[in-house]
């Protein structure tokens, strides 16, 4: 039984890690087509950063979109989640449904109407426009996670804080928010990824090459055979690393942050 378990973990880990290993290995190899090998070329570790050139221009754009999406989503989500968790009000059900409904909406369906709206508002070809579009999909998930977390905080804590003289407006930022920080972290990662990864809006809205986020820049290598594959893989690696680092930093919090949402379902 024990052996089976270890074997199962090993197989899963190897299969899961292989594509990442292959990306790194390929990035170090000079001619992947002529000289096949299972191992990275340790004499050519410079290959790892071969894709840095164009990425340097695109990564700041991705960072802007990702951080913008995270901030905007969290600001609205904290308030909305608190309202959903603590108040019974008319329209609560409709609002909750609308949040969920965004997750069913194919981006491909709204990309054209959104294009028209952005065109009218001068948001086309603007990174801030991408922030707005991505927030529409990231924010509802953040509300959901935060609401489930807030549901688990007893109202009595707020009441006793009130008795102790905490003003009403300070309850959310000073009492509730610190208690749901793991869930804020989980929501932050999810919305950050939404902004960092997003491809469809980026590819249709952004015209100027210097304004491309890395997702669109990297996608321009798809089906293109001029750039050496090692360079492409290096660019993919450079695009992936910040997301993985951010994820590892908050990894612990994600599990506990999702717990509250998970238990209630």
């Amino acid at each position: 039984m024990r052996v089976l378990r270890v074997a199962a973990v090993l197989v899963l880990v190897v299969v899961t890690a292989f594509p990442l290993y292959w990306m790194i290995t390929t990035a170090t190899r000079k001619d992947v087509f002529a000289v096949p090998s299972w191992w990275p070329d340790l004499g050519n570790l410079g290959g790892l950063v071969a894709g840095l050139g164009p990425m340097l221009g695109w990564l700041p754009n991705s960072a802007f979109v990702a951080f913008g999406t995270t901030l905007l989503s969290l600001m609205m989500a904290v308030l909305a989640a608190y309202a959903l968790s603590r108040f019974r009000f008319k329209g609560r059900g409709v609002f909750g449904f609308a949040l969920f409904a965004t997750q069913m909406l194919p981006e491909a369906l709204i990309v054209v109407p959104l294009y028209a709206i952005f065109l009218a508002l001068g948001l086309l070809n603007q990174l801030s426009g991408l922030v707005l579009a991505n927030t529409a999909f990231g924010m509802p998930v953040a509300v959901w996670i935060l609401k489930s977390a807030m549901d688990r905080i007893p109202v009595e804590i707020e009441e006793s804080a009130r008795v102790d003289g905490c003003p009403r407006y300070a309850i959310l930022p000073q009492i509730v928010l610190p208690l749901v920080m793991p869930s804020v972290a989980a929501a932050a990662v999810i919305t950050f990824f939404e902004g960092w990864n997003e491809y469809l809006f980026a590819s249709t809205f952004m015209v100027d090459k210097e304004k491309w986020p890395a997702s669109k820049g990297l996608a321009s290598y798809v089906g293109e055979f001029v750039t050496p594959l090692g360079t492409v893989m290096s660019a993919a690696l450079i695009f992936t690393l910040p997301a993985i680092i951010f994820f590892l930093l908050v990894q612990r919090r994600i599990v506990s942050g999702l717990t509250s949402g998970a238990v209630k379902g």
Binding site: R5, V9, L12, V13, T16, A17, P19, L20, W22, F33, P36, M76, A77, A80, A83, R86, F87, F89, R92, F95, A101, T102, Q103, M104, L105, P106, E107, A108, I110, V111, V112, P113, A116, T135, A136, M139, P140, F193, N197, Y199, S215, L218, A219, V222, L229, M233, L237, T240, I244, F246, F247, Q251, I254, V255, S256, L258, T259, A262, V263, G265
Partner: protein, 284 residues
């Protein structure tokens, strides 16, 4: 400020936001679906009633794309639920190297989709891809053979999304009280039974929600499919959402594109309604 107004102020930002950035484009999209709007003249569309819908339901190609969508969704959801739950159960116990194993298993979730597509396109590459090198004479056209393309796209998708199931399942597993599992072991229940009777009931509500999310996310997944195959070869991986994109940006037919999107949205809505009906029946 009265307590009656407070909740509306709190949701105000999010509500207005969703109205402008999702509801308005959605309604515009639904309107487009009953017009003959073209990409090159987006304001010049004329109302034509349900012509596009009639056309769609008379086309075998459309039914094929519905089928491809359902197969892709069912396979992706089933595989990621299974793998994600299995991985969560495996790393929930302590063993040497557990943290490292958990970290590796969750990592694909953080890999941007465009990077996933590039990596898998390279792994699947016909002539020099590692998969075909490994298989030698049994090599396949993973992305170029109509029999394999959907499988290959599904595998890449599952690799990317199963860690999400694992993370959520792991969170749920940690809510299983230790005494409960202890008592199951003392009672001599064998492992599998103990899992089914003691642990699974804790996981079930979570897994059901994750299954719904995975389903509606898979129904509308665009980027990984488009970047790997663009719906091809022929129409082997042409899902509904790929069709929406193709009609808009390749064939410039915004009206038809919106009609396909509306049908896709209807399917997602039906799945969601079914989920909540099932939920209610089980709760009752």
């Amino acid at each position: 400020m009265t307590a009656r107004r407070l909740p509306y102020l709190l949701i105000g930002g999010a509500a207005v936001y969703l109205a402008l950035l999702t509801a308005a484009p959605l309604l515009t999209g639904l309107w487009l679906s009953v017009t003959d709007t073209q990409l090159l003249n987006p304001m010049g569309g004329v109302f034509i009633g349900f012509e596009h819908y009639v056309k769609l339901f008379g086309e075998p190609g459309f039914f094929r794309s519905l089928l491809v969508t359902l197969v892709y969704t069912a396979a992706t959801v089933a595989a990621s639920l299974l793998l994600g739950t299995l991985a969560a159960v495996l790393v929930n116990r302590s063993f040497p190297g557990r943290t490292a194993a958990r970290t590796v298993l969750t990592m694909p979730w953080a890999v941007p989709t465009v990077a996933v597509a590039l990596i898998f396109a390279w792994i699947y590459n016909n002539d020099s891809g590692v998969l075909n090198r490994l298989l030698g004479p049994a090599r396949q056209g993973w992305l170029t053979d109509t029999d394999w393309a959907l499988v290959s796209v599904t595998v890449a998708s599952v690799w990317k999304v199963f860690p999400f199931v694992m993370l959520v399942a792991l969170a749920a597993l940690q809510s299983v009280p230790e005494e409960l599992r202890e008592s199951a072991r003392v009672d001599g229940a064998d492992r599998l039974n103990a899992f089914r009777d003691v642990v699974f009931p804790f996981l079930r509500p979570t897994l059901r929600v994750v299954a719904l999310l995975m389903t509606i996310w898979s129904l509308r997944r665009f980027d990984i499919i488009w970047l790997l195959t663009q719906g091809g070869p022929v129409d082997a991986t042409e899902t509904v959402v790929i069709g929406v994109y193709r009609e808009s940006f390749v064939n410039s037919d915004l009206g038809l594109s919106a009609a396909i999107g509306a049908v896709g949205l209807l399917i997602s809505s039906l799945v969601t309604v079914a989920h909540f009906l099932l939920d209610r029946r089980e709760d009752a």
